[in-house]
Symmetry: C2
Subunit: 262 residues, 2 copies
């Protein structure tokens, strides 16, 4: 079938790799779907190679292929229809995986979407009680408030408010670069990088300001993600509040019984 051409060349399996085979098949198919959708050689609804085709061509067991397809279905990349096969699914919500420090930019790109930012506010402010508490600073320490609108494919996704100690980023107020990726700027210009974050997730309702910025009705469901970012020295370097549209993304996490905990 024309829709499946090239997959044999794009999905490479390394039998000696330490990565489980089903993961290799899954990631291979995922990249083939993403690249195909982005490049235009594939469309939503196109057929995905069958379990037998995959198993024979890639020389892996039927169970391995089944597990890979199950995971792709669960993650919303494909839809399986009994007796007819698997098909590329309609675009779905951005999935923010809570396994390691995520960035909206990277997640959007991995979904084949174009991320963008607009600075809505950039000024020095007096820290609120909450900011003082999370940044572990004294009451009278000046902080920079940076409010940005985050977009994907020109659709507003989140209102993102960062508070940073001015002492650590003395030129941030004048910085043209604050229009780019904040963490990149922190790292390249100031040599400070978040290596650990503590994040809180709470459901909230969209308020007037967010409604206008995000172009959704007041009272819509949104996720409030509060993040405290720490440097390698374990110093709080950013307190961030992001309000994300509930219709555009969801968070996911893998958990095990009785994992190691502090």
């Amino acid at each position: 079938m024309s829709t499946t051409h090239l997959w044999e060349r794009e999905i490479l399996i390394d039998q000696r790799s330490r990565q489980p085979l089903f993961l290799q098949v899954k990631e291979g198919l995922k990249n083939w779907i993403r690249n195909g959708l982005q490049g235009g050689s594939l469309s939503e609804g196109d057929r995905v190679p069958s379990q037998n085709e995959l198993s024979e061509t890639l020389r892996v067991s039927a169970i391995t292929v089944k597990r890979a397809l199950n995971e792709l279905q669960r993650e919303g990349y494909i839809q399986r229809i009994q007796g007819r096969g698997s098909f590329i699914a309609k675009k779905h919500k951005l999935e923010l995986k809570l396994e390691h420090l995520y960035s909206l930019t990277t997640v959007a790109e991995s979904f084949g979407m174009v991320p963008a930012r607009q600075v809505l506010e950039l000024k020095e402010v007096k820290a609120s009680r909450r900011v003082v508490r999370y940044l572990e600073i004294e009451d009278d320490v000046p902080v920079v408030k940076l409010v940005r609108l985050r977009l994907v494919d020109d659709i507003p996704l989140a209102v993102d408010t960062s508070f940073l100690p001015l002492r650590l980023f003395p030129e941030l107020l004048m910085d043209e670069h604050s229009h780019g990726a904040l963490y990149d700027l922190m790292k390249t210009k100031y040599g400070i990088e978040p290596v650990r974050v503590h994040e809180y997730l709470e459901p909230v309702l969209i308020n007037d300001f967010e409604s206008e910025a995000l172009q959704v009705p007041v009272g819509s469901a949104a996720m409030l993600a509060e993040r405290i970012a720490y440097s390698a020295d374990d110093v709080p370097i950013e307190y961030n509040q992001s309000v994300l549209r509930g219709d555009m993304c969801r968070f996911s996490v893998d958990m095990h019984k009785g994992s190691l905990s502090g």
Copy 2:
């Protein structure tokens, strides 16, 4: 001060333990606060031993104590007031930590609250497309639907809907024990235990049914937590949808830069 009596005997520090000292101080203080609140020897607003008192009595550095107090403040156990000291904070939202498989029962108990459940519905149903997909079963396989109201201190917290393959839990429909902890029943009666879960978190608005069950207005903010639980053999054994009141809990997660990922 009478409010701090006994803490010297309750917070035990083991200098040779592999657990960091600040964690020992933090956990010790947390347990002292919890037990005190539960037992009635402490109340909200009571003073917590000062940094100096803790440092001297426990023989740990001021930095260690400061870090422990900072974390307790961030987690909402204490409130620090400049120049006056630290005080036991007002009761706050339940914090559901996404570090390992959590149970509402255990979390509530760790907050000194009394968890309870009420069965709202228990019957055999035809699996919906979504249930078929997540449980990786055939279309015509019978599943058990169990809807429970979860409460803490007699306040409704969540509407919790589980779908389980009847084949794995053949007597579940008749089971009086389904009024108890579901995972305990799965383990003790059927020898099947969830060891890994995949969970999705999305903000949603409370609907009519949930409004009545949870005693909050229609359109309030809530968290939809969808969970697929897997047995040790990696077989999906439960698909769960929980709608949790946004005013009663929040989720939290620690993330590191570039942790290992699949």
